[in-house]
Symmetry: C2
């Protein structure tokens, strides 16, 4: 049974620090008087907290000359949050490419770097490729590894809570890999691993097509399709991290894989050849009959997958992503079919972040982690079962 803990002084200090940091982070700079007013804390408390935050390197006094025009007498001191006090990485481990994003503690992106990797690369080679990409990005940006506060990673597959890959069909030797543990060797900070479609859903909610909605299904409509869902603004991972792993759905309705459906010959496409997919979409747009039939078959399959997700979850919005080109052709048929099958059809939108979504989402997850540590204080008093 929970109850009020009363006067724990260290908890109170943490709460007050978080409240002041939160206030400073919401503005460019503020005086002690302004902080006192906004936070409702007493002047001596604010002075003590700000002093502690300056010592910790998280807050700095803004030089008076940067401020407004000097007035007569002693000018008020201005303080600002030091977003440069730490850094974050957002990583995307894909089948053809690895990507790293570097950001400050405000989540502002300072640099990014992608490198190609063979789809048949071993797990060791793929991880090495990722490490060298990170090293080069840090070097170019002049940021030391010790400054990193959290690293987010997006990866295909079912990801366990500890960052291990339970199952992954898309990357060689990926099933069973303890991705979180392996990457932790390269960093002193927390490493957070997330399913790629889940990360993309978070990214679209942060800065993309789903910025206005808290109930979203993001569909990664690739040859190895997956989905990520936000419910009430929070990622829904499922009991075992497998929510949205809809790759097997088509086996139920129609015995056909995307690579067979999209083929314009008698041979199915290569399972990871998304270039070939873009080609088929291009030919279909140019009027090629066989390509158009292939795209139609593929859209029917996508509609089936998305409708199943929508009926199960009833989201406000469906965001479709996965390829840079071609995929926008599916929006109208998808809308039409959802209106036919769903009691309450959701809005449908195209991904705004495109290929950057997974790395951006991984970055946001790293930022969430840091915000929880630095800025969030939750004390809950509950008296229920």
């Amino acid at each position: 049974m929970g109850r009020l803990t009363g006067g724990d002084p260290s908890l109170l200090r943490r709460i007050n620090s978080a409240v002041v940091l939160h206030a400073l982070r919401a503005t460019d700079h503020a005086t002690l008087t302004e902080i006192t007013r906004v936070t409702g804390l007493s002047r001596p408390t604010v002075e003590g907290v700000v002093e502690g935050l300056v010592e910790a390197g998280l807050v700095v006094e803004r030089a008076a000359e940067e401020g407004a025009a000097r007035r007569q007498g002693r000018p008020a001191r201005h303080y600002r949050f030091r977003a440069e006090a730490g850094h974050l990485l957002g990583l995307d481990v894909g089948s053809h490419q690895v990507t790293a994003l570097l950001a400050d503690l405000d989540g502002r992106v300072l640099g990014s770097l992608s490198k190609d990797v063979s789809e048949s690369a071993s797990a060791d080679d793929r991880l090495e490729r990722l490490r060298s990409t990170v090293a080069e990005l840090l070097r170019r940006s002049g940021v030391s590894r010790g400054s990193l506060r959290a690293v987010g990673v997006g990866s295909p597959g079912v990801i366990e809570a500890d960052g291990a890959v339970r199952l992954c069909a898309a990357l060689p030797q990926w099933t069973g890999l303890n991705l979180g543990e392996r990457l932790s060797r390269s960093f002193k900070c927390a490493v957070l691993v997330e399913n790629d479609a889940n990360a993309a859903a978070v990214a679209e909610h942060w800065k993309g097509a789903a910025a206005e909605s808290d109930d979203v299904v993001f569909v990664l409509a690739g040859l190895s399709p997956g989905a990520g869902s936000l419910i009430g603004g929070r990622l829904h991972r499922g009991y075992g991290g497998a929510a949205g792993e809809i790759g097997a759905l088509h086996l139920l309705g129609r015995e056909a894989t995307p690579e067979a459906l999209l083929s314009t010959t008698d041979e199915p496409l290569h399972p990871l050849d998304e270039q070939a997919v873009a080609e088929v979409f291009k030919h279909a747009r140019e009027g090629d009959e066989r390509a158009r039939e292939a795209v139609d078959r593929f859209i029917q399959r996508l509609v089936h997958d998305v409708t199943a997700l929508v009926l199960a979850l009833d989201p406000e919005l469906v965001v479709v992503g996965g390829w840079a080109t071609g995929i926008d052709d599916v929006l109208d048929p998808l809308r039409h079919e959802l209106a036919r099958y769903c009691l309450r059809p959701p809005r449908v939108a195209l991904s705004r972040l495109g290929e950057a979504a997974v790395a951006m989402g991984a970055l946001r997850l790293a930022l969430d982690h840091v915000e929880e540590q630095l800025f969030a204080v939750e004390g809950t008093v509950t008296a229920r079962r």
Copy 2:
């Protein structure tokens, strides 16, 4: 930006009352000394709070002679929670039957009553049938209408947040009915309307097959199939209350309705004739070839629906309910197929509450409402975006 509110005396009183009620509710009876020890509150605070609760009728002094053997001197006073201080109703509005459950403030069922209703009854007739069932149950139980603290209602269809029925194929004139508002005319307390499959999911979590799991999909495998989901122990209604309304799923995979699939003649079953369904299951068990084929077709359809839900949500447990008999035949095929299609197959169990699940879930929702008012105090200090 949230922050500590400091010393709001009325909030503090509410917290202390809730804490004392919570402690008393967890035991048969307790002395002021025991309450003081368990709650960590001061003796004078406990005395004041208990006095207030006695005045409000929620707590009563247990007569000394009921207690342990008298000792020398003045015996300590014992207090207990008065579960009989108020009552709750759980109602189920079905196509063939309406059911009412009556319970005390501990959720202990004091009585129940079901009445048949024609599947073609008008909305007014069905509501009237429900009202007369409630009136008779209250009369038989000797409970006055004024003692009711909350009424929960389970109904087919997509239910809006205000208790209106957005869409319902199963009951005549039900679409567009403001069920919550209509029933509120009969009661002075809160009326909470919930989708029937959602209510059943809540019930199985409370007292049924899902008592040990917080991540559950409950499938109401009737001729008009539906599903309810709990995520982290909380009902997932979806953005518009339509989550789990999987009736249209089969249209995607196979162009067949359950009533056609389960028919052993060339004519489909009547959409609401669940007696005929039980017959088909019975004949199949007795070796009738045509009935067995019909059941197999139906199971394939059910597997498709359930797999779609499982892939979207990744629950720990699937509970199948809907009919009193026959439905247990689907468990093994369902387990087998889920293991084939799901990266992380869930456990599968049969409903333990059977036909009582919807009314029980409605009762639990009424109890949740009352507990929130009486026993729950949540004060959250948050400093985040």
